[in-house]
């Protein structure tokens, strides 16, 4: 047995020593760095980054106004609050329609909707900027066509959204729905395939409407799949970087920053002037927040195995 074990250790040693050097050691060291300031170990870095009031580095705004900047942490939370429910409800409805109605070329539709997940997120960010551009983008044009800028009394709606603090964040959130929807549809469609057809038939015999079938039969049966998609969506929202960096860079005036971007900005500052503590502190804060959804994911995966 022990001889066997010694032979079989070859399955683990190369992989884990590699991962230990490139992932585990850096994680531990980042935690240590986040407490280090002026050669002492304190919570100073955390106090400083959390109380920072410069909009370009701010995590939480002190006096909340109607329009961003609200600070990266709150931007991430707003992002989750809008993005997660909208994408999941939209993908439930679409997956249901594709599965239970005769839609021509449904697999092609799924393949097209999935494209947002295939392309580099940087390019996704650039395309979002393109769509919201006043001169060539289609969304400001539609707003002008429908006179929504006049009706809603938001003249920026027909301009380049990313030039205005009131709209930059929301244009990115809308764009992220476009990018991420295909992922949710793919997972939820795969889940719907596992529901026995008979369950739907029974509901139909009892005269249930499509709406009722979707929310009273399908959603309860897909509970675990929906929870998984929910967790993965929140994780994606919290870790966002490329899209924001490529399209607005967090601007204008810090009105569309996110946590990962603030970490990067502190990093760039430190790589010039030294002192990585604050960058590390933001990375740790980001990690702790992601651990809330991540722990659900980890727990459920461990229980299954």
């Amino acid at each position: 047995m022990s001889n066997n074990m010694r032979k079989n250790i070859i399955f683990f040693i190369p992989t884990f020593s590699f991962v230990a050097l490139f992932v585990i050691y850096p994680i531990v060291y980042t935690f240590i760095l986040s407490f280090e300031s002026e050669n002492a170990y304190t919570l100073n870095n955390y106090f400083k980054v959390l109380s920072e009031s410069n909009p370009l580095y701010m995590l939480i705004v002190k006096n909340i106004a109607l329009s961003p900047p609200w600070g990266a942490l709150l931007h991430n939370i707003v992002w989750v609050l809008i993005h997660a429910p909208v994408t999941i409800i939209l993908s439930l409805v679409i997956s249901y329609m594709i599965k239970y109605y005769y839609i021509k070329g449904s697999s092609l539709i799924k393949a097209l909707l999935f494209l947002g997940m295939v392309i580099p997120p940087v390019i996704g960010g650039l395309i979002i900027r393109f769509m919201f551009d006043e001169n060539i983008g289609i969304i400001p044009k539609i707003m002008r066509l429908l006179s929504l800028d006049v009706i809603l009394r938001i003249p920026e709606l027909s301009k380049t959204w990313m030039n205005y603090p009131s709209l930059a964040l929301f244009s990115l959130i809308l764009g992220s729905i476009w990018l991420w929807l295909g992922f949710c549809i793919t997972i939820i469609s795969a889940g719907i395939e596992t529901i026995p057809q008979s369950h739907i038939e029974v509901a139909k015999v009892f005269g249930a409407s499509s709406f009722k079938i979707l929310f009273k039969v399908i959603v309860p049966e897909l509970k675990t799949v929906i929870l998984t998609v929910f967790v993965l969506t929140i994780l994606w929202d919290l870790k966002l970087f490329d899209i924001v960096y490529a399209s607005t860079g967090g601007g204008p005036g810090g009105s569309s920053t996110v946590l990962a971007l603030i970490m990067y900005q502190y990093f760039i500052y430190a790589s010039r002037y030294g002192g990585y503590g604050r960058s590390a502190a933001v990375a740790v804060i980001l990690t702790i927040i992601t651990l809330i959804p991540a722990s659900i994911y980890i727990y459920r995966s461990l229980k299954r195995s």
Binding site: K7, N8, F11, F12, P14, F16, F18, V19, V23, P26, I27, Y29, T30, M97, I98, Y101, I103, K104, G105, I109, L113, F114, L115, G116, M117, V118, P121, V122, I123, L126, I128, F130, D133, I136, I138, W178, T186, I187, A190, G191, T228, V231, L235, K239, F241, D242, A260, F267, Y276, S279, A283, V284, T287, T290, L291, A294, I298, S301, R304, S305
Partner: protein, 288 residues
């Protein structure tokens, strides 16, 4: 009865139009950047891009690929190198370890697997500072170039891909009937032989699915490239495209051409390996 049938028919036509309209709306941005990349920019501003293109020109593509100011060709090459190394190493190591997780029993197994899952969910931002310092120190003391080198970033991508690939392969291997490995062991095959001669050949579809997704993720990454690649001749494609976007003025003709070039490879991979790609994504999500 007749009315009901008619009703269903019209309902279906309506739903088809609705869903197809939605799908067209969803790919409209892709059409937009494609048209902008092949049309004269002045015309796009004046007449928009939603029209039949008569005067197609590839000049934007030629400029971003050959002009030394942009040099996307170099970025493309660099991305190919990084994504290839960053796929081959982790696929091999993760498959090996996933075999261990599937077929061996040992005391700290759950703990180790929990660690793997934790590493799957951690943000990239948590590892870069120490590695940046480490790479610089290695360069200073041993003269080995890891900072600003394609090898350095490929190694990081490899390590970063291992946790999710272990998770993915473990799910895949656990679907292979135990009787197959048992038969091999009766014949006196060692674990390594069983892995290489029996499990790996059976798991080829899983290996393809894992490779396809890992390759795309490495290709698509920007964050590590921003931190670890410094000189322009080392830039990968995602980084290179951002250079086209000027500080104040955006030349959308060049930028859309660059964007299209940067997404060609992921799109080709996705089209060729569509089934594997989707299976991989589903395996990653639903199994959790």
């Amino acid at each position: 009865m007749k009315i009901a049938v008619h009703h269903i028919k019209w309902m279906n036509i309506f739903l088809n139009i609705l869903i197809w309209g939605f799908a067209v709306l969803w790919i409209l941005p892709f059409i937009g950047i494609f048209m902008t990349s092949v049309l004269p920019y002045r015309d796009v501003i004046l007449y928009g891009w939603l029209r039949i293109p008569f005067d197609i020109s590839l000049s934007n593509y030629i400029t971003v690929l050959t002009d030394p100011l942009y040099d996307l060709a170099q970025g493309y090459k660099n991305s190919l190198i990084v994504a290839s190394i960053g796929t081959i190493i982790p696929i091999f190591l993760a498959a090996l370890t996933a075999y261990g997780f599937t077929y061996f029993n040992f005391t700290s197994k759950t703990l180790l697997f929990g660690l793997i899952l934790f590493m799957m969910t951690v943000p990239q931002q948590l590892v870069v500072i120490p590695l940046f310092k480490l790479y610089i120190d290695i360069e200073k003391t041993f003269g080995i170039h890891l900072i600003d080198s394609l090898m350095g970033i490929s190694l990081l991508h490899s390590a970063w891909g291992i946790p999710w690939l272990i998770f993915f392969f473990r799910n895949y291997f656990s679907l292979i009937p135990k009787s197959i490995t048992d038969a091999a062991k009766v014949d006196g095959a060692s674990e390594l032989t069983t892995f290489f001669r029996i499990i790996l050949p059976i798991a080829i579809p899983g290996v393809i699915a894992g490779s396809v997704i890992q390759f795309t993720w490495v290709w698509n990454d920007l964050f590590y490239a921003l931190i670890f690649l410094i000189s322009p001749d080392k830039y990968v494609i995602t980084r290179e495209v951002l250079n086209i976007k000027g500080e104040y003025h955006v030349d959308w003709g060049l930028l859309t051409a660059g964007s299209i070039i940067a997404m060609t490879l992921p799109l080709i991979v996705y089209t060729l390996f569509n089934k594997y790609f989707v299976k991989g994504i589903v395996g990653w999500g639903v199994k959790a």
